[in-house]
Amino acid sequence: MSGRSLRSRSYLWPIFIGMWITARHLFFNLFHMRCLPTIQYPEQRRNYSPRFRGLHILTVKQNGDIRCTACMLCATACPAACIHITADEHPDPNVEKYPREFNIDMLRCVFCGMCEEACPVDAIRMGPGYELAGFDRNDFIYTKDDLVKNGNNTLSHVTHH
């Protein structure tokens, strides 16, 4: 048992030193709550930069119509091939084409933002949302309505010229 002093071998002393450091932090923080870095999530939230790439959003026109024209450029640009769109004839002949289904498989999405850049009509954006928990794999298939609903409650209504 050479090389280790009696004090370190006596086991109680290192315990005391450790507890002492912990107590010091505890009592210091107890009385200096303000300068603590931790925040009380979910009541408090960290604000991310506007360029944060979170949960996708399908933007809408002023008349509430979905802006996406199902041109498939996002599906083409997506490296994870997780965007599946089926296009259909829009009831209004001036609009012609719209997505009947617009599914994003969040389990596959790598949140790279290529879809946002590919979109010619700014129909898909990556919003600030990052709470993506779910109980079942199917919860992660976000449908068109989810993505549009996502847009309404996250974005203050962005005015489009």
Partner: protein, 525 residues
């Protein structure tokens, strides 16, 4: 035929007298941008894109109408030409609607393609574009006259190919508008070709509208088997979802120029519904069975009474399949073969409408007849075969390789089935007339097999597999192999087809052709 030699971009080219500079450039592998030129239509010379510079001629000339003469020096890549083409392209685009996101032609649109190679300018057009009627339903095609660049290909098509004079350009100047003269639907059988030859998205097929983006599709060369003409096709599928989206014509000046009829193009959809998915045993009602049971049953039935068995050979089978089936059946002692064809029309070699369509819906009637002759087997012919089953009790019928494209021929076969003790029908789709059959076995369609067929024009052409077999469908190779072995050990159909091709078909029909690199244009018999 006298030839002339000219130099294009410094490269000497020799062509027959009378060919245009454009065709000479094409022969020399020099690409010249064009919209209104089409190899199978007359020269319009209105899009003005195919400008080339010719020595000793002051102004750039359109190459599609300028006949090549001896010693002509042509340049297609001078800065002057690039500027001229860029200028003309810009004028094509100033009133063109920004429809790319919703336009089906995106990805194969010539405006996009030529903009990438000749345009790349920032648009200077700040004024209101000219507006024309947008989505118009003209039958099988959707017309958007705002996208139309008035290249008149479609007008020439309905004048020169279908002679139906339906499409025209009305009004004058930039108010010129393409539409049918009575704004009614198109009334010819070749409307699908309009969507192909339209270089932009003005004419798009309703069947393909918004279905898939073209860059997700993979094309495979094949041949249409919906009638005896054997038009060359290119079939597009989405290789990840294995879904078939489009059948397009493939240019073959000997057979179908650049056209296919609407039945061959859109008729395939009717074939994909109610396919026979699994082998079915008829015990008071059809029950799913396995190929193993089917094969052992067939082997047992045929070996028991080969002289009582009649084999119906569908004329939708490839040459290799016919040889395979006949050899196996002959080995089991069967003598009676008859092809399944409408004998009244099988002798017609020319299309009845003067363009492409044939009354004879069989894909490989000539091949089947030729093979039976070569194998020394008598072809009873359909009527005689059926009578033989009715009168002399040929108690067993094996109908091999039936394809829904054959259409109504089954009804006559079905009439015979109830009188037989044992009947096996190997078909692609269900048909009410099969109720009485003992066994119904799933067959592959022509998209799911590879092999050669002989068209009514006596031309040997190759059908290529595009999709995997649907459900448990097996082609006739697998059927023949299964019957000879009596069990279901799987057999590589492609290798079997290759060996049979090399052993017999090659020497009989097309010496010198290799199975894998078969001549895309087909070979005369």
């Amino acid at each position: 035929m006298k030839t002339v030699t000219l130099t294009i971009n410094g490269q000497a080219v020799t062509v027959n007298e009378g060919t245009t500079v454009f065709q000479a450039a094409q022969a020399a592998g020099v690409f010249v941008p064009h919209y209104c030129y089409h190899p199978d239509l007359s020269i319009a010379g209105v899009c003005r894109m195919c400008m080339v510079e010719i020595e000793k001629v002051p102004r750039p000339q359109i190459s599609c109408n300028t006949v090549a003469t001896e010693g002509m020096v042509v340049r297609t890549d001078t800065p002057k030409i690039k500027d001229t083409v860029k200028g003309v392209l810009e004028l094509h685009l100033i009133n063109h609607p920004l429809d790319c996101p919703i336009c089906d032609k995106a990805g194969e649109c010539k405006l996009q393609d030529f903009y990438q190679s000749y345009g790349l300018y920032t648009s200077r057009m700040e004024h209101e574009k000219v507006h024309k009627p947008k989505v118009q339903d003209i039958g099988t095609i959707v017309l958007d006259s705002e996208r139309c660049i008035l290249c008149t290909r479609c007008v020439r098509f309905t004048d020169e190919v279908t002679h139906s004079n339906e499409l025209g350009i009305f009004n004058r100047g930039d108010r010129s508008e393409l539409r049918t003269y009575d704004e009614g639907p198109l009334k010819n059988d070749y409307t699908g070709n309009l969507a192909d030859i339209c270089p932009v998205g003005a004419l798009t097929a309703k069947d393909f509208r918004f279905q898939q983006r073209v860059w997700f599709l993979d094309k495979t060369k094949s041949v249409c088997t919906m009638c005896a003409h054997g038009c060359n096709t290119a079939v597009s599928i989405n290789s990840s979802t294995k879904k078939l989206y489009r059948v397009e014509p493939r240019r073959n000046p000997e057979v179908n120029q650049s056209w296919i009829c609407d039945t061959g193009r859109w008729g395939i959809h009717s074939l994909t519904e109610n396919r026979v998915a699994t082998p079915l045993k008829n015990a008071g009602g059809f029950l799913d069975a396995t190929w193993n049971q089917a094969f052992s049953e067939m082997k047992r039935a045929i070996t028991e009474a080969p002289e009582k068995t009649l084999v119906f050979l569908s004329t939708a089978m490839t040459n290799e399949e016919v040889v395979d089936v006949c050899q196996v059946m002959f080995a089991l002692g069967v003598k009676n073969f008859s092809w399944l064809v409408d004998e009244a029309v099988v002798s017609e070699t020319q299309p009845f409408d003067g363009i492409l369509k044939h009354h004879d819906l069989s894909a490989n009637a000539r091949g089947t007849a030729e093979i039976l002759k070569r194998l020394g087997l008598t072809n009873l012919g359909m009527k005689a075969g059926i009578d033989k089953v009715k009168t002399q009790p040929l108690s067993q019928v094996v109908a091999v390789g039936l394809d829904a494209a054959q259409g109504p021929l089954w009804v006559e076969v079905a009439a015979v089935i109830p009188t037989t003790t044992q009947s096996f029908v190997h078909a692609t789709n269900h048909h009410p007339s099969f109720e009485a059959a003992k066994w119904v076995l799933p067959n592959t369609t022509s998209f799911e097999k590879t092999g050669t067929i002989v068209s009514a024009l006596a031309r040997v052409q190759k059908v290529n597999r595009i999709l995997p077999a649907q459900g448990l469908a097996r082609d006739s190779h697998a059927l023949a192999w299964g019957i000879s072995r009596g069990d279901d050990r799987s057999v590589p159909s492609k290798e079997r087809a290759k060996t049979i091709f090399e052993s017999s078909i090659q020497s009989w029909f097309c010496p010198g052709e290799k199975f894998s690199q078969f001549n895309e244009m087909g070979v005369a018999l």
